[in-house]
Symmetry: D2
Amino acid sequence: MNKQIIRGIIAYPITPFNAQEQVDISLFKVLVERLVASGSHGIAPLGSTGVLPYLTDEEKEAVTEAAIQQVAGRVPVITGVSALTTERTMHHARFAEKAGSTAVMILPMSYWKLTDDEIFAHYEKVANAISIPIMAYNNPATGGVDMSPSLLKRLLQIPNVTMIKESTGDLQRMHYLRKELGEETAFFNGSNPLALAAFAAGATGWCTAAPNLIPELTLDLYHAVQNNNYELARAVFYKQVKLLQFIVSKGLPRAIQAGLELTGIPAGYLRSPLEPLEKADKDQLQMILTECAVATV
Amino acid sequence: MNKQIIRGIIAYPITPFNAQEQVDISLFKVLVERLVASGSHGIAPLGSTGVLPYLTDEEKEAVTEAAIQQVAGRVPVITGVSALTTERTMHHARFAEKAGSTAVMILPMSYWKLTDDEIFAHYEKVANAISIPIMAYNNPATGGVDMSPSLLKRLLQIPNVTMIKESTGDLQRMHYLRKELGEETAFFNGSNPLALAAFAAGATGWCTAAPNLIPELTLDLYHAVQNNNYELARAVFYKQVKLLQFIVSKGLPRAIQAGLELTGIPAGYLRSPLEPLEKADKDQLQMILTECAVATV
Amino acid sequence: MNKQIIRGIIAYPITPFNAQEQVDISLFKVLVERLVASGSHGIAPLGSTGVLPYLTDEEKEAVTEAAIQQVAGRVPVITGVSALTTERTMHHARFAEKAGSTAVMILPMSYWKLTDDEIFAHYEKVANAISIPIMAYNNPATGGVDMSPSLLKRLLQIPNVTMIKESTGDLQRMHYLRKELGEETAFFNGSNPLALAAFAAGATGWCTAAPNLIPELTLDLYHAVQNNNYELARAVFYKQVKLLQFIVSKGLPRAIQAGLELTGIPAGYLRSPLEPLEKADKDQLQMILTECAVATV
Amino acid sequence: MNKQIIRGIIAYPITPFNAQEQVDISLFKVLVERLVASGSHGIAPLGSTGVLPYLTDEEKEAVTEAAIQQVAGRVPVITGVSALTTERTMHHARFAEKAGSTAVMILPMSYWKLTDDEIFAHYEKVANAISIPIMAYNNPATGGVDMSPSLLKRLLQIPNVTMIKESTGDLQRMHYLRKELGEETAFFNGSNPLALAAFAAGATGWCTAAPNLIPELTLDLYHAVQNNNYELARAVFYKQVKLLQFIVSKGLPRAIQAGLELTGIPAGYLRSPLEPLEKADKDQLQMILTECAVATV
């Protein structure tokens, strides 16, 4: 079992496709390498950014193996294994463990809204099937299920559920978690435009796709916070806030793919029904990226 | 191509599982037969009630074939073929047509929110792949995408998108559709507690799981409306409104499965993470069903 | 005490102002006369349409007296007496009774959200101060307090709270009220675009500002419903639905004032901060009114 | 004109009533004195906490004069002058200026939702009537109007609208304001549980009723932020967060009145329909206050 500590900037790669909308594993590895090389503290394949739900089981396994192989132990790998049914989630969790993941991330995906007891049982069954840590991930905007802070607290009763990722953008939930759980429990912020506030509230780390485009700025923010220098943290945050808002509002896979292309980095294609950003959005993104680049200098 | 007219009470069977959570095709056929025998005007396998998204591709195909075989042309079969990716949706739509479906029903499922243009392109690609009619289905509560009435109107530009199913429960959208599209366009109500109001607003039909439990009451409502007798329609509606609200609030697969068992009809098991209704809910459902039975006499 | 029965079309006059933004009582009487003469079944001065909260105590009293004097017993007068404090509400309720109102209408206005117990005590104190009936009025969009159906049911325990006006536009609340309270309890629909559905659900009447602009169409709808002819009711409803949606979306005082002017009826001025509809909105209103006029012929 | 700088902790006194629900001016002065003596950087009478909308014009004037007289120039006085009509707002703004207020605070109160142009005209007319600064105050939860960040930015075009108070609790609006307006423009946080995050985002001050109960903790938070010591700021914030959440969730006038009584400070009565906190709530508040007291030592 991989005992690496998970904290800081956890970077989410996209899953690139070729022109025939097939997963491009070689390009994926290149994109993962960029994230590791630029200093990210962890890599999280098959997240929302990585369009996990749009992939077949075989594709998910290939991406998992490619990520672990490319990272090669340099930083922790937290693999997304969410699925609609409990059985498929267990299957992917076992695969991720066997392949060498440091931890798995699980979102309770929904078609029918789930009760708290159904969600707890779902996590418990998956947890019993593996021995690596689980990051419980709340993101109603994509997954369709909203886990209350008290349910998240309850999930921590399951031995290997050790981390929480909160992506609602509701800061009061982070206050609750920190106040109720104390400083020992790791909670991660998954809402990009809340990055500064979440660190102020005591977040252990920031789960983000932003390092694909602005790795230095995300790291600068984290280091300023670590140094208890909030004037600097605030200054660094305002340099990137427009980009953070943009990538969230346009959908992370579309926005990161477009941003990489604008930066001159091949990023492949999206899988339908997702389509590339429109021209006007790309132009706006170019302006925002230019501002960030100037700000970084 | 099957040219049967689709209108009236369109009944949604559940997909039953055995104790090992495998699809039970024999039991499924029994449940479909009940719906046809009791007078439903159409059968819609693989809807939300039929937990479409929780099934594998093979299971979806087996359920499709079983439904068509059992119905045997007595009433139209509208098969659900929604999937997250356009490619999978096209695949299932082609299968449904080949298997003999009268029409297919498509919900734009979402993980990442889709733009109107992405949704339009999605429907267009699927429509081009088949020659049977498509019912465009809006249900943000399950699918996560909310199609505006004007987008629904736009979808009708695609030749074989000929029917709309609205499940938001927002009556003003039905007013808009009827006012904008005229009486020729078929719009179906998918919000159970809105059944009376939707018929008053001019709905062509009611897509519902209620016939699994109260087939007579659903048909009585439709016939009263057809006879322009709203005093009777109102009386019949208030006999069933509590049941309609209950099955929606508890989730259709759970509520229908429990209701069938309470009525003495085997209904199999649910697939995890979905779990059976709790005892208190079952007791409440029993009371509501008893009231409906008394009301029907 | 006035024992007139309250049902059918309850018409809401605007409160017109002169160029100096002072209440124009003579013009108000003219507008009230039009509503009575055109066949409305009741007149409700000082409603939301009558900008009750924007008037001084003296102005409210003058409007109350003018309405009762002009109606002269031909139809019931339901006077709005809502105020932020309980003491002022009691004061205006007493005045309305003394002046000869058939009933009073009370909305629990809010700055600070009120608890259910505070709302109940508020109604109880006012009810004890008068002997005429009270219509409890729920309209969170203007008043800021949302009374649940169960709280409305509880208010009916107060002897002279005998009528409920629901303006949320949520049809399920009307289903609840009718199902819980039975046919004896009078519930009125205050959501214009829900007029047809509310009558289908069993509403006793429709509280509306629409008779200021389209008196015949509102009465035609009511009569069709009374005659159990829903095909006609639906046809009549679709003739007016765009107007009903328009007046709600633009704010009743602005929309009715503009509509009267467009119809050639003097309607005075609004009181700041309310301002007249913009040109584009007036043009749209003109088109909608023309369609209604054609439809009526 | 009073040119005192407004920043830091702006304290909001309640307006106390006697047993007959009449304003108790003597007690009000005592409560204002406590706020000044404990170190607050400004006093804001007639805010939401001071139940401005529940007072008569004469009572508002008496409270204004009493506050200014008691503060006696030691710190700035920002007087609430919001009213539903533009005319009454101008009236109270003029009175507040004449009485010696440093600035006025204006919330666009609503019964009918206001358009952006109506709101702008409302502020402009009031601004033209006075020469002291205006704090534009956004609080849809009480006032019923939600001013977008871009409307707030637009209001700053009016010369004496110089300050913004944001109480939605939406941190992204503060990011927008700071990013768009730069560091020169004063924006104040009015959402208590957002105190830490708002300072992290660059807020000029915190408009709060909390100093009535925990003056030291509010000041400690501000000073830690001023000293760029966010570890300390975070520690101080978590000592008070439960109290901040409690007073917001229960309604500031009720919660502050109860908290003062529990602390042994006479706080008078509330005006109906507002009623005192229930026993269970008071017990919870006592526990929270005890925790805060321990934390402060």
